[in-house]
């Protein structure tokens, strides 16, 4: 249990931070310092090494790309899980052992591809170990290409092009609406009068002008009606309508002191 945190100072990696392509590569390099087969690396130790590395970078005030920090967060979480005694894993939470195993596989895959790249370079390559003839080709296959397109292709290309342009420039304009909250506030204020009289709902509407006037007016009517109903429910006003589709009249009620 009392393993040394790391036998390689993370400073060494920090020095050539530039040489690393992201956190995964740093992890791979750290894993290799454990001097064991990649299959047998200690994930917990690796996590400690990585967190020490990030700390060291911060200490030296070096810029660290966001993905290094994301990896650090993931690993810190993993560490906390690995240190706890195994508990039953709930469905939402991933098994820490599984996360650790997945990380080990990722490192092995990356390592395999790095080695494969080196192995490719060691092959007898053309121009270094094997040679082609340098003479001008005397003959070869000449291909005469005839391009073709139908009018349908042409049209489709043009309409696709337009569709793409449309999609690129489409912006949805939020319609200007008179909100219920606005109406409620306005109506409450307008009702603060000394002598309550019957007035038409229309008289309480805000003035609207400009292009969106009719749209705004309709939404104001709806909101103000709702506000009227709400205030009447609270007992602050009365509503009446003398005939079907006739004007809706409202009158404030004597204010009863409101509590809370």
């Amino acid at each position: 249990m009392s393993k040394p945190t790391s036998n390689v100072p993370p400073t060494q990696l920090v020095v050539d931070l530039e040489a690393y392509d992201g956190p995964l590569e740093v992890l791979l390099e750290l894993a290799k310092t454990q001097k064991v087969d990649l299959a047998a690396i200690s994930i917990l130790e690796l996590v400690n090494q990585y967190l020490a590395f990030v700390l060291e970078v911060k200490k030296q005030n070096l810029e660290l790309a966001a993905d290094y920090l994301v990896m650090a967060a993931v690993l810190a979480y993993l560490k906390s899980k690995l240190l706890l005694p195994p508990v039953e894993v709930t469905s939402e939470e991933q098994d820490p052992a599984a996360i650790a195993a997945a990380l080990a596989i990722r490192l092995k895959r990356l390592d395999a591809m790095k080695n494969a790249g080196e192995a490719l370079l060691a092959m007898p390559t053309l121009g270094q170990n094997r040679f082609a003839t340098a003479r001008q080709p005397e003959a070869s296959v000449t291909t005469n290409v005839r391009y073709s397109a139908s009018i349908y292709d042409l049209l489709q290309a043009y309409s696709n092009f337009h569709k793409r342009r449309e999609a690129a420039s489409l912006t949805v304009v939020r319609p200007k609406l008179y909100k219920f909250e606005q109406a409620l506030e306005r109506l409450s204020n307008l009702l603060q009068v000394k002598t309550p009289t019957w007035k038409s709902l229309q008289d309480f509407l805000p003035e609207s002008k400009g292009e969106e006037a009719s749209q705004l007016r309709r939404s104001a009517l709806a909101s103000t009606l709702l506000a009227g109903l709400e205030l009447s429910r609270q007992g602050k006003l009365e509503l009446k309508q003398d005939e079907a589709f006739g004007p809706l009249m409202l009158r404030p009620l004597d204010q009863v002191p409101v509590t809370g």
Partner: protein, 214 residues
């Protein structure tokens, strides 16, 4: 050097060399102690009657393909290819918006037009320069040709499908596309190719340098 190895080495060297090689050079390659004449005789015998022969001209050696085969070595193929998506789009834009410049097309498509794309359309004879626009840089204006109309079975540019509808919908400009009298302005084509070559050179240079880095 052992004669078998010497033969192999000379065979490989002559194969890879761009030019015939002098006997002196070959002798140096296999070492002075090697009997070069014996090696070359064996090699000539190995290749006699084959598709490739060892030929001596003066004091130089080279592999040459057998002369009786040369007429059979060329293979001409016909291949029909569909025009690519960028090619089709560029053609459509030229057809509907002509006369139009490369800059126009790039503005409309939002991406640069590869040199090859215009080249293919030009080679197909479907587009042709219509003149130069009187704006800075005097860019070439492109339009479609009678060969274009012919290929797509159109009687005229007004026969382009949906051109009226597209105009009504405000998708393309108000004015009818213009058909110009001059379709094969050789001068303009030549000038285009010149500019093209210049551009190609400029494009290639920085790339070459990049690929040299490690």
């Amino acid at each position: 050097m052992e004669i078998v190895l010497a033969k192999r080495l000379i065979e490989a060297t002559l194969f890879a060399a761009a030019k015939p090689m002098a006997a002196d050079e070959l002798h140096e390659l296999v070492g002075e102690a090697t009997d070069l004449d014996a090696v070359m005789d064996e090699l000539a015998a190995d290749y006699s009657g084959r598709g490739v022969n060892l030929e001596k001209s003066g004091k130089c050696f080279a592999f040459r393909t057998a002369s009786d085969l040369s007429s059979m070595m060329t293979l001409v193929r016909e291949e029909e290819r569909k025009l690519s998506k960028p090619g089709l789009e560029t053609l459509a834009i030229i057809a509907y918006h002509q006369p139009t410049t490369r800059g126009d097309i790039e503005d409309l498509r939002g991406v640069s037009v590869a040199r090859g794309t215009l080249d293919i359309l030009l080679e197909l004879g479907w587009i042709a320069p219509q003149g130069r626009r009187d704006t800075p840089g005097r860019p070439i204006e492109w339009g479609t040709t009678p060969a274009f109309l012919d290929h797509f079975g159109l009687e005229g540019l007004d026969g382009l499908p949906g051109v009226q509808d597209l105009r009504a919908a405000g998708l393309i400009g108000d004015s009818s596309p213009q058909l110009f009298g001059v379709f094969d302005d050789e001068h303009l084509i030549e000038e285009y190719r010149d500019e093209d070559a210049l551009e190609a050179r400029e494009e290639l240079r920085p790339e070459d340098e990049e690929s040299n880095n490690d």
